[in-house]
Each structure stands twice: as structure tokens, then as C-alpha cells.
Amino acid sequence: MKVVGDQLSTWAIAQKDKQKQDVFGRSAFNRYYYSAFLITRQMLGEFEDRWKSTAHREIPNLLRASVKRKVESRLKINVRTRIMTESEKSRFLMELKTSLNELAALLSEAYDVRIIADYEPEMLVTFEKKIISLRNYKLTSANNWPGRARAYCKTIRRVWKGCGLG
């Protein structure tokens, strides 16, 4: 999915025609969002079947609430049953909270611009200093959404596994 975004974004930058630049540019945002979304959904499905069908805009809340709660309660049990130390627990918890929040924040930003790209055509992309933007979002930062999502998912998976959940 990311390669499609990259290609669209190259085309958008090269376009002289403003209208074509707009459609290629906004489609690139859309593809970058989907890439990050699918990476996250894959992980959620591994964790819990029903999480896989969470509505797009609910995913950030699911990450911050349900996923966090599940790991947190497991960590508590692990400490109580003495198969984990208090310091292991706090370290895992800190890593978990940071990555969950990062991923949730990324997905809500990405979803916001994806909706603008798809449903608010009156808001046009702008092109300044060779950078395509839509609202305040730059295509140059959108292109690392998939990499970012993958990085955060990796940390979240490691904590999930580490506490014995998967």
C-alpha cells in the first residue's frame, strides 16, 4: 500500500496541472492512511478476533482503553503470582503506554486527513517548497505513517507477548 502512496505522491509533485496535482496528492494521503490502518488492524486481529472489525475512528480509543486495560491487568496478575518483578512491570507499562498513545495519535491524525482527502473535495491540496499539504498535513510526514505504525505495533506486540498474552 505504501508503494502506491509513494508513486501517487511522486506523480502529484511532478504535475503542472493544479487539478491533477490535487487528486493525486489526496489519493496519496488516503493510501498512506490505509497502509498504517491495515498494519494496526492485523495486530489487533492477532490479539482478539473481535477487535479486527473495529470501526476506523474507534481504533484510537480501543488502543488507549481496551488494549491497555487488558495488558495492565495481566501485568498485575503476573506480579501478584510472582512470575514478574515490579520493575519489569513498570518498564513494560511505560513502553506500552507510549507506543499505544503514539499509534492512536498517528491514526487519528491520519484518519482526519484521509476523510478530508476523500469527502471534503472543497479543501484543496497546496504545493509549497516542493511539499504537498492538505490542511496542515504534509505528504512528507504522511509517507512515514506506515513505518511508524509498524514500529509502534512491534513494541506493543512485544509487551503483549512478554506478559504471556500471546
Partner: protein, 247 residues
């Protein structure tokens, strides 16, 4: 709905002197009110001009109830954050000859940042070298380095809960087969490390050593491994593993 609510909500937010909010708008496609908060305004604890994740979550819930609308809070990444990230990424690649695949930072507090680093051909000495270099770089820039997450980490070892789960799924399991299974996820685990861990678990009464040199969990051991109804449950995995064994 909508515009009326938006104006009301804007007034409400304004009265509360929530100057950490940079923008409020309505998303027409699903009539959700979006509240934008720059990432650098979010601190671990609320103080003047700053908010916290907890406060934002409460705000989202309260407003949603008060006005019966969907509220979404969007934490916006700042340009300076992105510039710092790409600057450090470039420095790293200059210093470590293009071995850095990706690099991301996250501010946990105003000047405390966590880093995610992906490196090709990472080994323990390179890991230490990069971490030392980064910590130094952060220090000199009046920043402090928090957690480092190594995305290509190969030296990681399994935790006890992870080990117990693996044994539950495959028990009774011979140490040699267990070693192969463990190495799927943790390639650097040695036989010596694993036997020491198993011995520790046995002394904790979570594990028994059976005839033919195989290991199985005790009831205490089974009790600490999470179960569930989901496909990812350790019970389901165990049933599948037993099925494979019979084939």
C-alpha cells in the same frame, strides 16, 4: 445539528481557558467535532498552558455526553518535532554508514524523549555504540534520552510469562524441542540459558521435570498462563499443537 453545536462547544472550550487547544472544527461526513491539540502541549501532568492525556480523555467524554455528539481529540505533530526527528536520523546515518533503516522519536515530557530505532545487521556492540552516541547527542542538546526501542533487536530474551505460555501449549516438551520453539521468536537464546530458567521455574514449583527428560507445567504453572475464548487463547493454541503432534 451541527453548526449550533460547534459554536456552543467553541464557547464552552473558550470559557474554560483551554489555551492548549489550537483548533476546533466539525467533520461533515460523520458530524464529529474535532478538537486539535498540539503534541507539545501535552504533559504528564496538567499545568498552566499544558494538558494531559487523562484530562483530554475526560474532556472528550464529558463533551460527548453534554452535547450528545461524537468528539475526537487529535494530537497534532509539530513541525519542530518532525525536523528534529529527520535531523537526528540523518546524523545517525552519516555516523553509522546508512545502517539506520528508520528512526522515530516521541516526547514523553517537554525534554524527555523516547526513541524507536531500526538498524540493519544490529549486534550488541553496535547497539551500545548507537545508544551511547544518541544519549550524548541528546545531552548536548539539553534533551534527555528515555527508552530506546530496538526494532531489529535480536538479543532479546523471553520473559517468564512468555516461556510458561510456550510450555503450556507444547507440553510435555523436551528441552531440545522447546529450544527450537523459543528460538523462533528469540534467536539468541542458548541451551544453557534455557535450562537455567527451567530449573528456576521448577524450584518455584511452576514446572515439573518428567521422565524422558521432558517438562510440563504444574497446576500452579497452568494457573498463571492466561486463557480466553479468543482464537489467540493459549487453550486454543494447545489444542492445535496437540492436533499437529498426532499427524
Amino acid at each position: 445539528m451541527a453548526l449550533v453545536d460547534l459554536v456552543e462547544i467553541q464557547d464552552y472550550l473558550h470559557e474554560g481557558r483551554r489555551d492548549y487547544i489550537s483548533d476546533v472544527r466539525i467533520r461533515p461526513s460523520d458530524e464529529t467535532i474535532l478538537i486539535y491539540v498540539p503534541r507539545e502541549k501535552i504533559a504528564p501532568r496538567v499545568r498552566s498552558g499544558f494538558t494531559s492525556l487523562r484530562q483530554l480523555e475526560n474532556l472528550r467524554k464529558n463533551l460527548g455526553q453534554k452535547y450528545s455528539v461524537n468528539i475526537e481529540i487529535i494530537q497534532t505533530a509539530s513541525t519542530s518535532h518532525q525536523e528534529l526527528e529527520s535531523g537526528v536520523y540523518q546524523l545517525l546515518n552519516r555516523r553509522f554508514k546508512d545502517k539506520i533503516v528508520s528512526f522515530f522519536i516521541s516526547f514523553r515530557e517537554e525534554s524527555l524523549l523516547d526513541s524507536w530505532i531500526e538498524v540493519s545487521d544490529l549486534d550488541e556492540s553496535l547497539r551500545r555504540e548507537i545508544e551511547g552516541y544518541l544519549r550524548n547527542l541528546y545531552d548536548e542538546s539539553s534533551l534527555s534520552g528515555g527508552y530506546f526501542t530496538w526494532l531489529s533487536s535480536s538479543g532479546e530474551l523471553p520473559t517468564i510469562p512468555a516461556l510458561l505460555r510456550l510450555i503450556k501449549v507444547n507440553q510435555p516438551v523436551h528441552i531440545a524441542s522447546l529450544l527450537t520453539l523459543v528460538r523462533d521468536d528469540y534467536p539468541t537464546v542458548s541451551k544453557r540459558w534455557l535450562s537455567r530458567k527451567l530449573d528456576l521455574l521448577r524450584r518455584k514449583n511452576l514446572l515439573v521435570w518428567q521422565k524422558l527428560d521432558s517438562y510440563a507445567l504444574t497446576s500452579a504453572g497452568i494457573a498463571v498462563v492466561p486463557t480466553g475464548k479468543s482464537r489467540s487463547s493459549s487453550d486454543v493454541y494447545r489444542a492445535l499443537a496437540l492436533g499437529r503432534r498426532k499427524c
